[in-house]
Symmetry: C2
Subunit: 251 residues, 2 copies
DNA sequence: ACAAAAGTGTTATCCTTACACCCATGT
DNA sequence: ACATGGGTGTAAGGATAACACTTTTGT
């Protein structure tokens, strides 16, 4: 690893990085994919560097694939973080030692100032298989509303990403990317409530959703409990894409 | 100049730049502040580099001040442009020659790949005094909807900025920054029509604006023509700022 | 008096909101 | 039968959109 990363350094643009906020959804919570560092056990967003002949968007897609083994059809650049003192590198020596890295070149690389661009990706949690990289011991989903303290300004980056998804929920395919293939209207509404951080009227939400014409009603889902069985739905992908541009409006 | 920029180079972050879309408004048009280069006579956005110990936002503010001699209370970072081949540097030698620059160091500086972050600023056109810099022969306002071909991907950058202002018009103080102190309701509506690229009903716009409670009605304005004299208005800045967070809604 | 622009009024329609009601389901 | 969640109904209030009407201005 030490060898390989040292030799790779020359292929990357110095001072530039990409951080990915990969959002999943499970048990009524938004989840963020995080990595845990070896020495300090602190958590961070999955990120990486940009190859000298690579578009920045492509770098984000590459990094996403490395972490989830998935291709992402949609990613969204949401903000670039360029404060002078955004990174605290006081633990750097400890981290590098834990990884058996003593190359001055690698040390210098991580000591430089980085300006980092944030990308948002959304994925059905069941499909993504987290892959810890060589720098980390763990790679896991954590609930977005109670994250641990992350390294650098990564908590700010997540906050910006959550604000972005909230602001643009009408233009993002949140239902199609975050839910499984089939879902109940209740599950869809809970997702919107989670993103928007407020409760939505059950009856009105259902009416509005159905009127859009992007949902296909399937068979009923018998959960085995003593209640009326709800219908399952799936998205009409053709319709959805047609509406996507002008915004799919729920309030 | 040659001397000074060569010596300044070491103070800047390599590969990083900032481009500013400074928007003004006059005679019913949005205007963009552009610079004209010496040799090729091509136009570009005002931009600059980031000092090694400077926050990126601060760099944008510094560059804005250099071009307009104004302090900007609000700037908005809207996108970062990171495509590998976003800059066409085939005219670089000609440009440098026209500026009597033959320093290899300066040449190399401008030949590197740059990732550039776009910032939006808005200003009352009468207040801004364009300042051409040492690299340019002209600095002028040009109508946003019929810009000449700009260098690099600067036309894309302007397009993104215009899309940004359109999307977020409810949250941006467009009226307060782009109009003079006093204005008629017609002028305010025309500004919104220009930004949103569609016509708005005169009567309904007026009602909605007044109901918000952010306008103060002043004396009538007699233009000297054979029509009913419209009222002048100014913004109630306290009220405006209070409403700003939750969005000032016009459709 | 006239034309044109500005201010205000009116109405139908739609959307939002809140809540009520009935229906289906396993125990 | 019953409790509970799910589907649908309804009615008030507000927002929107389109257009009509009246007022004001200099010629």
């Amino acid at each position: 690893m030490q060898q390989s990363f040292e030799s790779l350094i020359d292929n990357y643009l110095p001072g530039q990085s990409v951080d990915c906020v990969i959002i999943g959804y499970a048990s009524g919570e938004l989840k963020i994919l995080l990595l845990q560092w070896k020495a300090t056990k602190r958590w961070s967003l999955p990120g990486g560097f940009i190859l000298k002949d690579e578009d920045m968007d492509k770098a984000a897609l590459r990094i996403l694939k490395e972490r989830t083994t998935l291709e992402f059809p949609f990613i969204h650049q949401f903000y670039t973080f360029g404060n002078y003192r955004r990174r605290d590198i006081s633990n750097l020596n400890k981290e590098l030692a834990a990884m058996n890295i003593n190359s001055p070149k690698v040390n210098e690389w991580f000591r430089q100032r980085f300006i980092s661009t944030g990308y948002l990706a959304m994925v059905n949690l069941d499909k993504a298989k987290p892959q810890p990289d060589e720098l980390s011991i763990k790679c896991d989903w954590m609930p977005a509303d109670k994250l641990p303290p992350l390294i650098y300004d990564h908590n700010d980056i997540v906050a910006k990403a959550l604000e972005y998804i909230k602001m643009r929920v009408h233009f993002l395919p949140v239902g199609m990317t975050l839910l499984p293939e089939k879902f109940t209207m209740n599950e869809l509404r809970l997702l919107y409530e989670t993103i928007l951080q407020r409760s939505l009227d059950r009856a009105n939400f259902q009416r509005k959703m159905l009127k859009l014409g992007v949902l296909i009603r399937l068979e009923k889902h018998f959960a085995g409990n003593a209640h009326k069985a709800p219908y399952l739905y799936k998205f009409d992908k053709k319709m959805y894409n047609a509406f996507q541009k002008e915004g799919i409006g729920f309030v």
